[in-house]
Subunit: 438 residues, 4 copies
């Protein structure tokens, strides 16, 4: 019998419903701006937090005690886990999922075992996808949990560890390709340092650059059409992670000639740990041409670690979704719930509450962002604010029509005396709130 | 009579002296690694905090009441300020100073007045430099304090403000050139945003890129041989500043083709506000080929704003100086004291105590860093740690000898099973402490 | 002619209106739970940010250039400022205001001048209150801006400074009493330290304790019926402020026997600077019996200083208002806008936009909090969660019916084996969002 | 054969030695101020990080693979662990150790099993203490790791969990008493909340207060002469922990009448997570009469979680030790190494490097603090700074000789006009550095 058998399929019942196991705002087939909500949001459930993590933290043991987490034959348990996962996806009605290689298959004690276990489980997943219609948003490889990766994967001081990681990534890429994944993600959990005292920054940078190049080359060899995505994070578990934030990733990609080959998978909680708002990271990745996909979660503003909570701020998601819509919406990307229920929330239904609330939050944000785009007051006011840059002086400056000296001469001869203009931030904030609450 | 007339010239008296108005560790002419301490450290006193700032903060009025800060004819007061500044430099015995255009000359009410005031004061400074032998480490322009810059200088929505800033920067560059300055610095205090709601990130990035290009072109036209330096800061006064940190600046320079033209001026307190250690920023700028100069100060680890305190941690400065020595030491750069006495420290001698303590801290850090370089245990252990990357597998990987697939094949066929090696962080930390306290 | 003459009186026009100079949700006379919105919220505009601050920050000069901020006879300017302030209050329609003594009257050059200036301006304010019906929510004394307070007021190392502060506080209390103020506030901006090296914590604590006792004694002597409120803040301008947060203030009050005499004035931005959510500080002050009044603003989650922005998160204010309603609502307190427009927002209408948006945010939060209280699902679920503490074992434990040993014996003899129960955090968060967006 | 058999007993070899497995500054029997270094520092090694933790973190599995961490009979493994621990203590030469009940004995599956396992292991420990001379600095109970404590121990919504925790604490107290422990510690890892939405602050506060009272009563019943210590921590694993910092604990103790019964066990990393310097927490606990013992470690200034690194800043420890010496030194307390080697540092000798470096750091800090106390310039300057409070006006104010009104009258009649005096912070910082580096 299914672990989730007491949970009905989650249906849209509208804002008036009091049923906690229903959507109140997410109506998958409702059309906005010519696309359904499902097409806009491209929702994915992650394997690791939702089916692998046992509810442990640094100070305590797991509280969840799911049946597939009990001891037993690893491959049998992996199959039970896949059963539970696809049962969950189906009841929840989300179209996509995401995984690490070692989430779905036992690591084994050698590369050969790893390969065989993983291959067997990819067969299982393929069949499950066919049976349920659930699709893979992205795959990835876990090259950070095993002790061999304690000092990094691509940036490890031992090239043998680089080779081990390359093997996992190759197989995870190929599995992603075979399963029709829309993207492949690279998160460098241990690609950073614990102390500068034993770290050669330049060398490790070169290692990581070569690794990314090999991944991109392999993508083309495979004929994989999805995007390669780097997921920035500033720190944790390492003291400092090389993919600190979007702007840092951009410089890295430029150095290794990859800025047109790789995009970013942005996570809300990683943005805030890096000292940025989530909207900032999204807007920056769009401005740099790097926008790819989203790990939709939230951090706790008072806690300095990755709490991976379910997003529940419509105010925040409205602004983020507005940025995304303005940039044309997702292409290969989507909103992946890289989220975990709190350690106390060990009941089966808590997994549903977490995802339902998050999905309704995204739906509410989408609705409001659509209104913002349909009558785009912010864009109008922005255009007015920068109008001078579309007029004579501005275009001449930007097109290289002045040297520093000639521009200074011009300023002096015209006796320029520009006055500051109001940025009207409070007015703009009120306008946004009227979209949200009007 | 001089404001500082009660203060003697500060002399080196050695560690045994109890005289607070003497150096205990900084012996300017002492040779280490073939250079004098003075040549290694290239110490500079800044004009703004030390002679311009009145001791005010957001919650209170100025406490300093220096004679040259009283009301009076602005040009007359500017001359008195220059007298006091060079008197201070001379008594302290520091070889360099640094300034913003508007620190040394009144802004005036028009560009013409600005130009004339500044030109007159550059004459004064030139004479003072000749009389005292004090040299200019770098000049810069203040394009952030006047209300016209409230929304930015180069990134202002009004191109007229860009032009105004260009005029100041042109004159500040030319003054720096004429005064024999070793560098020219760009700090974009308002080049960022207060809210994304009224900000066009892409447009402002293009504006800033063009501005930097114009500066570099002008440098070459002038024949200025010094370095152009960007000073990263993550925020304050803006919510977000575009020159967030070194890694961000690197990506920016790459985009605009300036990575070989511009270097960084790194500040300790800006590093920590960006979520990095000071050593991290220095090591990163070296790894990226961007190391230029240092604003030596410290922040308060518990306060989230720029406190600009005098450096007093020998432990921190030893590691920073070790990085710098390993990279070959300063060329055009130096240690500039972008530091201010606390608002309560209004007495004339407090200005000396602050600088003396900082200078002795840098001297102590230098002494210890020299020992670390002379018998470079860290480098030996690092070489051993990464030895595999200089052997067959490592060099073949880095030189492009493998694809992802061929490397995975190799790993499988060799049944690789690398074990994690200890990073020995605690041992390394003990070694550093033995250099410091041994 | 009034500075605000182009601004109409702000009226409630409902959510459908597009008029930025109208309320969309705040309908002062609308009744909820038996009280009008105006009675629930008790809105106040502050004098200092709105009429005194010139739009300066640490890095730049004032941008506002209000007429009453120009140079001129100080008392004449103070009267013009009062005219503008009451004109603003009237147009905005807020029932209360708040001030520091030195906001409304020039400090003068001696205590006698101070007293006379202030007395004259209190006459002016009294007349304005009578003319407009605007009332005083609270008064306070500025004992932190003048250089004499650089090292603190009550905690100053010089008792003469304590005496100076006592004089200001006495006059500010008496003015507050005479003007019918509902509360008197103490914010210890400089009551803390910049460095422990020159600070005697115990001594300064005794000074501050005695000061608060004198204030409470004077309140009773005056017959002032309002509340004495301490405003916690963790730091800024000092490195550490003694009134760090509510829990710290509680311990302080207990030590000096003042826990039944003094309450707290809580500020959102101070809560977050102290590492707490705003809701936490409100809930804690209620749990400790210290809840008094609110400085309604918000900080920037990415900036480490007091930004004092206008509140615009309905999500945050709903939870805060729910706590307040559950505790019985305000008695003497209210929501004071200790908020400032951004430095770029120098236009007269920006002051209105800021306040209007904030007021609508509070009104929306109130509406939703009222729904939460009317059908209080959270309280029901909480009661169920703690039910065991109302049953036998729980009541016996809390009433002292067990020693540690007898309870352990009981646990062993009953072979207790309690299982963890889900905290259902995600469900609860969804319930709150249904109140907000349902 | 011992796991540590390759490690010699660690001896004092002096600053000149290059042996990493020797003390360079800690000379246990060296006398300073009439006490040996060992008597001053009262060093303790902790059981949990050093012998229980397997080198795992949230993102990865254990890297340590100690023999006693392998699978096997739990009691047998517990005995092997005790063998290793006491072997380690002996080789290192530290006089004290610390433990949680479940560090030393298997929890078992019932309270009866718990009690029996623990009792058997206490016998083992007692014998080991007698054999080696190692003593117990403090014991404690782990009432936070088991899933039953997910929602707290004393503050759990189920009173049965309170009873379970009471049983553990009773047995841990009695074991501590029997083993001659100098203190008993309470750290409330889960005594806080994850969300306010399901939390009754007032109720949980009452539960915790009663728990502490029961502990104090039991101490007296036992005749235990050691101190009861609360260990403040602001957060992690919970979002908010009730024992946030020393000032918060003080208010709590006052409410429950325990301020003379309980002291604090302060941890450096907890202080910084709470937004304080370590010195601040120590100085505050001394000022409040709560100073007890120290968990000597350090956090990473850039990471927002408890990293529990070994202390290695002599600069920080000098100031902390100065505060402690001024307060009379430790009585029952000591410096406990609540520290863990980095996850990469899996080698047996890394455990020694970590502790040796920390111990030398404390010894260096002690040496310098002793010099500061012997010629206490800071105290002299402080006395001078506050001299006014020992003169007429100050003593009259503090002794209640003035009302607010009479003091204001006095100030006016004397036309007080106090000037700010310099706090000379930079001079004081230089003086401290001369003690450290002179």
């Amino acid at each position: 019998m299914s672990y989730f058998s007491s949970i009905p399929n989650i249906a849209f019942e509208g804002p008036g419903s009091d049923n906690p196991l229903a959507f109140h705002h997410y109506d998958a087939s409702r059309k906005l701006l010519g696309k359904t909500m499902a097409e806009h949001l491209r929702l994915a459930v992650c394997y690791w937090h939702t089916f692998v993590w046992p509810g442990s933290d640094v100070f305590g043991a797991g509280t969840f005690e799911r049946p597939w987490q009990q001891s037993g034959d690893p491959m049998q348990k992996a199959r039970e886990k896949a059963d539970a996962a696809f049962d969950f996806f189906t009841r929840l009605g989300t179209p996509f999922y995401t995984f690490h290689d070692t989430d779905v298959a036992p690591e084994g004690n050698s590369l050969a075992e790893y390969r065989n276990n993983f291959a067997a489980m990819v067969d299982v997943l393929e069949k499950k996808q066919a049976d349920t219609g659930v699709k893979l948003l992205w795959g990835t490889a876990n090259v950070f949990s095993n002790p061999r990766y304690a000092a990094g994967a691509a940036t490890n001081p031992q090239p043998e560890v680089f080779a081990y990681a390359a093997t996992q990534v190759r197989h995870a890429m190929e599995a992603t390709h075979r399963l029709g994944g829309a993207n492949y993600v690279l998160w460098g959990g241990r690609e950073g340092y614990d102390t500068l005292l034993n770290t050669d920054l330049k060398r490790e940078r070169a290692q990581l650059g070569r690794f990314f190049q090999m991944v991109v080359e392999h993508k083309h060899k495979l004929g994989f059409k999805g995007a390669i995505l780097i997921e920035p994070k500033p720190q944790e578990p390492t003291k400092h992670q090389y993919d600190y934030d979007t702007a840092t990733v951009y410089g890295f990609l430029k150095e290794f000639g990859l800025e047109n080959e790789v995009k970013t998978n942005l996570e809300a909680n990683h943005a805030t740990l890096a000292g940025h708002s989530f909207q900032h990271e999204v807007a920056t990745s769009i401005a740099l041409g790097l926008f790819g996909s989203i790990d939709a979660n939230r951090g706790d503003p008072q806690n300095g670690w990755d709490t991976d909570q379910f997003p529940n701020s419509v105010e925040e998601m409205t602004l983020v979704t507005y940025e995304i819509l303005k940039a044309g919406g997702f292409t290969t990307g989507g909103f992946n719930f890289d989220t975990k229920v709190r350690r106390q929330s060990h009941a089966a239904e808590d997994l549903f509450h977490g995802h339902i609330g998050a999905i309704d939050t995204l739906a509410l944000g989408l609705e409001r962002a659509v209104k913002m785009v349909e009558k785009d007051t912010l864009a109008e006011l922005k255009a007015k604010r920068y109008a001078g840059w579309d007029a004579d002086l501005g275009t001449k400056i930007l097109s290289g029509g002045f040297t520093l000296a000639s521009l200074a001469d011009e300023a002096l001869s015209r006796d320029l005396h520009p006055k500051h203009a109001s940025g009207h931030q409070e007015l703009l904030e009120n306008i946004v709130n009227r979209y949200i609450y009007g």
